[in-house]
Structures are given as C-alpha cells and as structure tokens.
Amino acid sequence: MSRDPGSVGIVVPRQHTFREPLELACGRTLSEYTLVYETYGTLNAAKSNAVLICHALSGHHHAAGRHSEEDKRPGWWDNYIGPGKPIDTDRFFVVSLNNLGGCHGSTGPASINPETCRPWGPDFPMLRVRDWVNSQARLADLLGIEQWAAVIGGSLGGMQAMRWSLEYPDRLRHCVVIASAMKLSAQNIAFNETARQAITSDPDFCHGRYLDEDKLPRRGLAVARMIGHITYLSDDGLGKKFGRELRSGTFERGVEEEVEFQVQSYLRYQGDSFSGSFDPNTYILMTRALDYFDLAREYGDDPVAAFSHARCRFMLISFTSDWRFAPERSREIADALMHANVPVSYAEIESSMGHDAFLLPNSRYQRVFDAYMQRIAAECDEGVGQ
C-alpha cells in the first residue's frame, strides 16, 4: 500500500475482450474489442454501490492510485477518488476504463485490425459518445452491475454521463456532470479543428498510416496538445503560474541570445510529453466525438424533451474561469433539467484554474462533491433504489 492514507494505493489494470459484436452509431460493427479498466473499493452484496467514472479527452482507465511505488504521478482524478475523498473508495466500488478508440490498452486505431492484420489507423470506425456508453454498459454487465449508484464524468466524461441518463435511464440513480456541455460551441469546434489540422499536416502523419511507415507525427500532436492545453487554462491561471518570467535570455540591448518565456518551455514540455504517450489517430477520433456530440439532436433539438427521458437525479458543477466549458453551458443543462422536472442541483465554483479545475484541489468543489456523494453513499447503505 502507498504511504498516502488518502490513496487507493497500488492498482493493477484489468482487461476483457468482448466477443459479442458491437454495432456502432456510424453503422459499422466491431466484431470484438478489448476494454482496459481499473476498479477501486469493493462491490457490496446488494451490488448497489458501484460508480462509473467516464473520462475526459486525454484521460483513461487510470483514475486513482499508482501503478507502482516508483510511479511518479497518480491517476488523473486522484484528488477526488480514494479513501475519505468525495468518491470514497471505502464506500463505493469505483470503475474507470479506457474508452473504445483509446490508446492505453483498449481497442483503438493503434490496435491490430483482425481482418487485415495491420494497425487500424485511419480505418478505425468513427465513434460517438453513445458507442462508449453502450460499451460501458457491456462492462457493467460483465461486472454484474445492473444499476450504477452514480455515473460521473468531467468534460467529455460529463457528456457520457448525460448520455447514460438518456440511453439507459434505469441503470443509474445519479448523474454527476462536471464542467461539461450539451454540445460544443463553434469556438470549441474551431479549436478542435485547428488541433486536428496540426496533426494531419505533420509530414509524418502519412494519411494516418504512420504506424505502417514506422513514423509518428510527434510535432503535430505536440502542437495539437499545446492548443488544447491553452484552452484548458485561463488567462488568469497562466498569468499566476508563469507571468512573463523568462526562462532564458534577456531583453538587454546587444544580447543575441533568444528570449524564452517560462510559459513557452512549459507548453513545449506538455506537448512533447503528450506526443510520446498518446496516439494521434485517437486524438483525432476523440475530438471528433466531442464535436459531434449533441445531446438533444435526436429529440428535436429540444433538451427538455431529451431530459424528460431521464429518471436519475443530477448534480452539475462548473468553474467560473472555465471558458472552454463555461458556467453558462452548465446552466443550460440545469435549466433544461428543471423544465423537464428532473431533480437537479447545480454549483458554480470560484476558480482561476480554467477547465482543468475539475481535476485540481479546490476546497469548495471538494465540499460540494463530497456532500452529494455522501448522500448517495447513505442511500446505498439504506438500500434505496430509484
């Protein structure tokens, strides 16, 4: 066990290959696929305390704890999952997975296409948020979970959580949507398109067949990540962290050395480390899924009509400086839910950390999240159903 009492400790990812074909929203079918997932805590006898964590764009199954004692960084949502934390692993059985199309063990563009015995690459089917939800439902079946106590997600994960409430209304009691939106704004789509262009215009992209060519469009992916990263932070947050501090060089006359700001080297580091660990085709696939997500499209573009299908309770949280998924977007969700007479609570958390705030420590966020999860845990103990 790790020395940190708030940590779930050392965790070992598990995987399962599903042999039952999965029909996708795009019309194609995956004959089989593998999902990698982690679980924390214990499923109770009534199987009523399971919580599904849906991950954001670049997250994956490793949401909490560490993979080894030497592991430098814990899971992506370690601040909020663990003993005594809001998603309390002493009370909940937590499931987190690498989504289909991902690049951390689940079947995705970098996997081998059984029909061609070559990497899927750009031939990997286009995925929608609902495909993830469907594959997650199969994972729930596998684990014997008929109904989640809660489906929880931030950002793209929040979109999955909302989709769960409409696709499988009887299979969740609570839906926790953090820093998310019912659909992206044109500005969001523009950023995603710019990121994709950075990747596809890298000479090493090779029309997405870089693995066959033994190449990797690292520079393109790094730029894509830098663009994304800027949008996940706020002007204020970047300013507080870096200001205009120089890493090297000087503004003095007669000095030839190039001036480099701290923020430049930070961004380059973020881009480089990401491009060494993430698959470019997966990045394209995930940003497309984000772009195409529109909660109410098939309900006549009426979010109230959409949410009238939901049978769970909702908790929404947004952050004041998040301009990528601004509080207005969460308020739209709250309004639609209230009009549909669905139980909902909403809190707008003061933060200067931009969109990334949903992963970072923040005392009010922690308290609100904790208060809501405690209620759910109490319900699980009482054996309360719908």
Partner: protein, 196 residues
C-alpha cells in the same frame, strides 16, 4: 422551524411544483417534500447554504436572484416562494413581478420594519435596529431594502397584485397577543400569498 415557514405550508398544495427563491439551507423544501410530496427546486447564492441543501438531498441551483428569473418559463411552477429574502434584493418589486409570471401563485415573507421594536430602537437610540432576526450592522448587512407591512400592502395595490392571504406572525408574547390588533406595529414577520 421558523414561524413563517410553518405558517405558509398550509397554502401549498400536495404534489405541487414549488420554486423556493433564496432557499437557504433547504429546510422548507425538505419539509414540503416529506409532508406534501411537493417537488421543486431551491435557488440560492450562498455556498455554505448550497452545501447544506445538497447534504439534505434538496435540489438546489446556484443562481443570483438579482439577475432575474429569465431562465424560467411562464407558469412553470404552481407556487414560487421567497422567505426572508425580499429585503436583500436590488429591485424587489421586479422580482415579485417575475415570481408572478413564473408561478401561478407566490408566497413572500419578510421582516416587518414597522414592528414596534424597530421603531422604538430607531426613535430612542437614533440608530439602525440590530436584533436576533436582523443581526447585522447597517454597513455589512445583506438587507438593503427594508419595508413595512403597510408599505408592501401599498405596493400590491399599485401593481394590482391580488392578495389571497396576508398575515403577520410573531414569536414574542406581546407580538402574538397584539398582532391582530395592529399588524404593522406588532407583527415581526409579514407573510403574503399573492396571485396575478
């Protein structure tokens, strides 16, 4: 239970939809859900009160009432309630107008500044009254628009709001005994039940 919250529960129909503006810790909504199967939401702006609502399992949405109720459709609630918050609003009359658009009926309670103790305090000491109910100094109070029972009566008449019920309540013995004799002088808290 605060005496005004007790008094207004009779005016809310079972299984109706209620919006509670400035719902505080959510006690009223919790009671209404338990005793009358009422569904609804509270709007609140104070972070600590919001946490208390969530801990109780009451639906609470963070929203500033001064920004209006534009996100709610006409007639979307049976009753819109606002207890002890009217005096904290920038434009109380506009919020009441909105309450009557969003709800078929509305219930408002507020501290009656015409009550004898407030008058006495101001008259004798020449200073703004500070009491159990209004425990703030003038410079750091959230209360910016005090009115009396009689003032609100006049507002209702001017605006042509229909008063279904109105009463004052008091927790002091003298107030309980004399509030019907002179509501504006002896009522601590004014309660109005309005419709368009």
């Amino acid at each position: 239970m605060r005496v005004d919250l007790d008094a207004i529960q009779d005016w809310i129909r079972p299984e109706s939809r209620v919006l509670d503006l400035g719902c505080g810790d959510g006690l009223l909504l919790e009671q209404l859900a338990r005793n009358k199967q009422v569904s609804g939401y509270g709007l609140e702006i104070d972070p600590e009160e919001i946490e208390r609502c969530i801990a109780r399992g009451v639906n609470v949405v963070e929203q500033n009432l001064d920004a209006g109720l534009g996100n709610f459709a006409d007639n979307s609630f049976d009753t819109v309630v606002m207890t002890q918050a009217l005096q904290t609003l920038r434009q109380p009359h506009l919020v009441v107008q909105e309450m009557l658009r969003v709800g078929r009926e509305c219930i408002i309670t507020f501290p009656n500044f015409g009550q004898w103790r407030a008058r006495w305090h101001l008259a004798i000491s020449g200073r703004m009254p500070v009491s159990d109910l209004l425990p703030f100094e003038w410079y750091d109070t959230p209360n910016i628009h005090f009115c009396t029972f009689r003032d609100f009566d006049l507002l209702c008449r001017e605006r042509r709001w229909t008063i279904l019920h109105r009463q004052v309540v008091s927790e002091t013995r003298i107030g309980v005994a004399l509030k019907d004799f002179s509501p504006n002088l002896f009522g601590e808290t004014a309660i109005y039940h309005l419709t368009r």
